[in-house]
């Protein structure tokens, strides 16, 4: 006869199963998403090609996330003086005072001005471009001409554009043309791969 305390069910297979499940979810969880804004829902494209890791490794990447309302999310960077730029990672059109606090309108909401966003986007790309030029200048020394240096920066940098499917064309166009004006030329547009067969 078994003692009553030996009647308990055998938990070992259950534990095995649970650990298997844990393994599965662990393997599927991707923590390295600092460049990717979850709020961005990408558009569908049937001709989208798989991302080549090799291409990403060869370039310095600038991830540009464009949200539904046109706000841009970017990564911060540190310049040669150790100053951190764009620590908050958001480039929007909220009117701010000198200390960076939003100025509230009569309705208690922050005031917005699309012109401001344009200026900020322009400044962002200029800043990043200048930062990279200076870094390359140290690498190549003073004998390289200014134009060749700019070409080299453009060659080494890839802009990854992740825009929300409901973003407006003019905001996306604005970002593209401003990065272009700063001197960048390589771009990659991200889309969700649509696996439905084309009709």
């Amino acid at each position: 006869m078994h003692a009553p305390d030996q009647e308990e069910p055998n938990l070992v297979p259950l534990l095995d199963l649970v650990l298997q499940l844990v393994m599965f979810f662990m393997a599927c969880t991707n923590f390295a998403k600092e460049n990717i804004s979850e709020a961005v829902k990408l558009p569908l494209a049937q001709t989208a090609k798989p991302i080549e890791d090799e291409e990403l490794r060869r370039h310095e990447l600038i991830y540009v996330n464009v949200e539904e309302n046109g706000d841009m999310r970017v990564r911060s960077f540190t310049d040669e003086n150790g100053l951190v730029w764009y620590a908050r990672g958001r480039i929007d059109d909220v009117v701010t005072d000198v200390s960076g606090e939003p100025i509230l309108g009569p309705d208690g909401k922050p005031q917005r001005d699309p012109k401001l966003r344009r200026e900020r986007i322009e400044k962002y790309f200029q800043k990043v471009f200048d930062n990279r030029s200076r870094r390359l200048r140290r690498e190549f020394g003073p004998q390289l001409s200014e134009d060749a240096l700019k070409l080299e920066v453009a060659k080494r940098t890839l802009i990854v554009l992740r825009a929300h499917q409901n973003a407006e064309y003019r905001d996306v166009y604005d970002i593209l043309s401003r990065s272009r004006r700063a001197g960048f030329s390589k771009m990659q547009v991200r889309a969700t791969m649509d696996t439905r067969s084309g009709s």
Binding site: V12, L15, V66, E119, A167, R178, R180, T192
Partner: protein, 189 residues
């Protein structure tokens, strides 16, 4: 004998504490289920803008930031796909030189069910694809089988990005090597 030996030592239950381990495992499992967010397969569409060699503005001060950017993301292209989209309508046309060929207009999109809307839009895009394929076939007849062409997309500023990408997708499907963007005509507004 071992049997005898075992009987002599005090009866200590040597058991792995399964239950706390299971509890812990469930906690971990719960955490991973909560954070489980399978990312959709993300793909790329390359957009190599022609390198002009240098930025147009020589220094930051010469740029008037208050103006909308007028730098064209242009690639040399024979014609432009015109997209006019709003919440309730979508029209597509092809413009080469000053000649505009209408592809089609959809109206009342906001009143359709999302299924009907998708169907209508994909039919319109198919018409565009057929027209684009015709044009590229004509070019290949003239210049050889490997000739490719570039095309530009010009949309109104309010057009949704998803629409633009769908048109871009259609152009790539039709065989165009490069797709560029023209500034929206209502950029300054």
């Amino acid at each position: 004998m071992s049997q005898n030996h075992r009987n002599t030592v005090p009866d200590i239950a040597v058991a792995l504490p399964i239950v706390p381990m299971l509890d812990l495992s469930f906690q971990i499992l719960f955490f991973f289920i909560i954070t489980f967010n399978p990312s959709k397969a993300e793909g790329k569409l390359s957009l190599n803008l022609p390198s002009s060699g240098q930025a147009k503005a020589k220094d930051n001060d010469s740029v008037d930031l208050s103006k909308p950017s007028d730098v064209d993301l242009e690639i040399p292209a024979d014609f432009v796909v015109l997209v006019r989209a709003s919440e309730e309508s979508l029209s597509l046309a092809l413009r080469s030189a000053e000649k505009v060929d209408e592809i089609g207009v959809l109206r009342g999109l906001d009143e359709m069910s999302s299924r009907d809307r998708q169907k209508a839009v994909s039919q319109l895009l198919d018409r565009l694809r057929v027209e684009l394929e015709k044009r590229i076939a004509a070019k290949r007849e003239k210049e050889g089988a490997t000739a490719t062409d570039n095309v530009k997309i010009e949309a109104n500023g309010k057009a949704r990005y998803a629409t633009i990408v769908a048109v871009m997708d259609t152009c790539v499907k039709a065989g165009y090597a490069q797709v560029g963007f023209a500034p929206p005509p209502d950029l300054g507004q």
